[in-house]
């Protein structure tokens, strides 16, 4: 979570949180539902493209250091431990390694990679104010606790520094001494901090009451208007979800790993569905690129 998110340049972060949440729900749930390698590949690729647009070079490091090792581990571990399937490739210490298990491992690796990468996009887009905006309507008390806790963390840090400074001023230094003395010092700072924060929280509550807390439904700091673009995104996501349901119903995206591998990847219905799936998932990336293009062309005009 960054404090500067409010002037984040990402185009998708201006999208209404409800539309954005439903899009993420679609993007995150689909890989878990359909273990179809082609669809998983599409999802992973779309997530990677968007995460690069959102996070730039930082994402490359994350991808290489975290996502790829996890995927590799999953792809390798599955055939080692899973011996289901009829096509034996070779024997590893008397245990059969099957083609089906290898393919299943690859599919689950793609699934993991897609989900993790979508979550990095989620973390970049869903800042705390958006989460509070969403929960504020449904669960106002919880949203209030979350926003207060978020606010208390930096406040407590600052107050702890003040207490340490005051103690140093009073001749009870915090830096010197052996480990035990320093730990004792730290504990007395913590103790003072806790007492202070408990008391000040009650003052906060009284102040809230005096200002009419609980009289009106909660409003939130960020205001989002549900405009045409949000409706379009929502509609498109719903279309994708509906078609996924239909595709699953007609068996257009069916895949079977065990006991033998059987995939439906060439039927025209599947290709149609895969194109639509890719279009929906590439929507945010397209939006980012379109906004960037509009921004650049508006500069050159001046």
């Amino acid at each position: 979570m960054k404090d500067t998110e409010l002037n984040n340049r990402s185009a998708f972060s201006a999208v209404h949180p409800v539309a954005a949440l439903l899009f993420f729900a679609f993007a995150l749930v689909m890989p878990m539902l359909l273990l179809h390698p082609v669809l998983l590949g599409i999802s992973f690729a779309a997530a990677v493209v968007w995460s690069f647009l959102l996070r730039g070079k930082k994402q490359l490091g994350f991808l290489l250091k975290f996502v790829l090792p996890v995927m590799l581990l999953s792809a390798l571990l599955n055939p080692v431990f899973n011996h289901a399937g009829v096509t034996v490739l070779f024997y590893l210490r008397y245990n059969p390694v099957t083609l089906e298990a290898v393919l299943y491992g690859l599919a689950s690796a793609l699934m993991l990679g897609a989900v993790i990468t979508w979550f990095t996009c989620f973390n970049a887009i869903f800042t705390s104010d958006k989460l509070i905006y969403l929960t504020g309507r449904l669960m106002p008390s919880l949203a209030l606790v979350i926003s207060m806790a978020l606010r208390f963390v930096p406040l407590f840090t600052r107050q702890a520094k003040r207490i340490a400074l005051a103690r140093r001023g009073a001749g009870m230094g915090t830096t010197g001494g052996n480990v035990i003395e320093r730990a004792k010092n730290g504990l007395s700072i913590l103790s003072a901090l806790i007492t202070w924060s408990l008391e000040s929280s009650v003052t906060t509550a009284d102040s809230m009451r005096a200002r009419g807390y609980g009289l009106h439904p909660r409003t939130s700091f960020s205001n989002y208007r549900f405009d045409g673009r949000d409706a379009a995104i929502l509609l498109f996501t719903a279309l994708g979800a509906g078609c996924s349901g239909l595709a699953a119903g007609f068996g257009a995206a069916s895949v079977r790993f065990f006991p033998s591998y059987k995939i439906n990847a060439c039927s025209p219905l599947f290709i149609l569905y895969a194109v639509l799936y890719a279009a929906v998932l590439l929507l945010p990336a397209a939006l980012e690129l379109y906004e960037a293009h509009k921004w650049h062309s508006s500069i050159s005009k001046i």
Binding site: L33, N78, F119, V145, M148, S201, V202
Partner: protein, 252 residues
Amino acid sequence: MSYEQAQPDISPVSRREEGRRKLRRLVFAVCVLVFVPSVIAIGLSAWEDRKYYLVSALIILVSALPFFIAFEKRRPLARELTLIAVMTALGVAGRAAFYMLPQFKPIAAIVIVAGCAFGCEAGFIVGALTIFVSNMFFGQGPWTPWQMFALGLVGFFAGLIFRGEIKTKLRLFLLCLYGAVSVLVVYGGIVDTSFVFTSAQEVTAASFLAAYASGFVFNLIFAGATVLFLLILAKPLLNKLSRIKKKHGVFR
């Protein structure tokens, strides 16, 4: 001064309130002990496919929902909200302060203390929200609902078993014992189970065993940290909290 002060204990209103609170606690216990396992059973038998993570995440969300809804329905006082927020923030700050030591965190200890002081519902809320808020710093992921539910339960049972101050050494010992067991069994068990579902491997007895075995050391460190922090923090923190409760008339 204190507008929100409840009526004196002898009044019939507070007695009725007390009865209602007991009923609520009972309903919660039934929710946890009957509802959750049955939902898991239904979920696993009805969806025989390999959609484990989705089903399990749904189960977790469904079983956590009653806690949150009850919390909203109760319309908690502003003072209770701020105190819960303080405990949550302490948990988050504690997790952040020990970021360089993996698993060695005071969060479970703080949640347990919150459960003891504020009761089981507030304990659940503090536990779940500590995870939710600190994951805003450390990154949300498929593990978030599981961790939220797991730490929430740690706080919930702490409130159910222990209530009030820790005056004797025996009670402190029992609290520490509870801390170790709850972290090892409840938190570790739930989060390790989620590992089986998220990693999308075959769900067999062997994969569960592998997950529990590989998570055991981490859970052991977390349990040790919890006991240590409970030994140091439980008594003074509970004293402070019960003083606040008495002074301002909250969480009674």
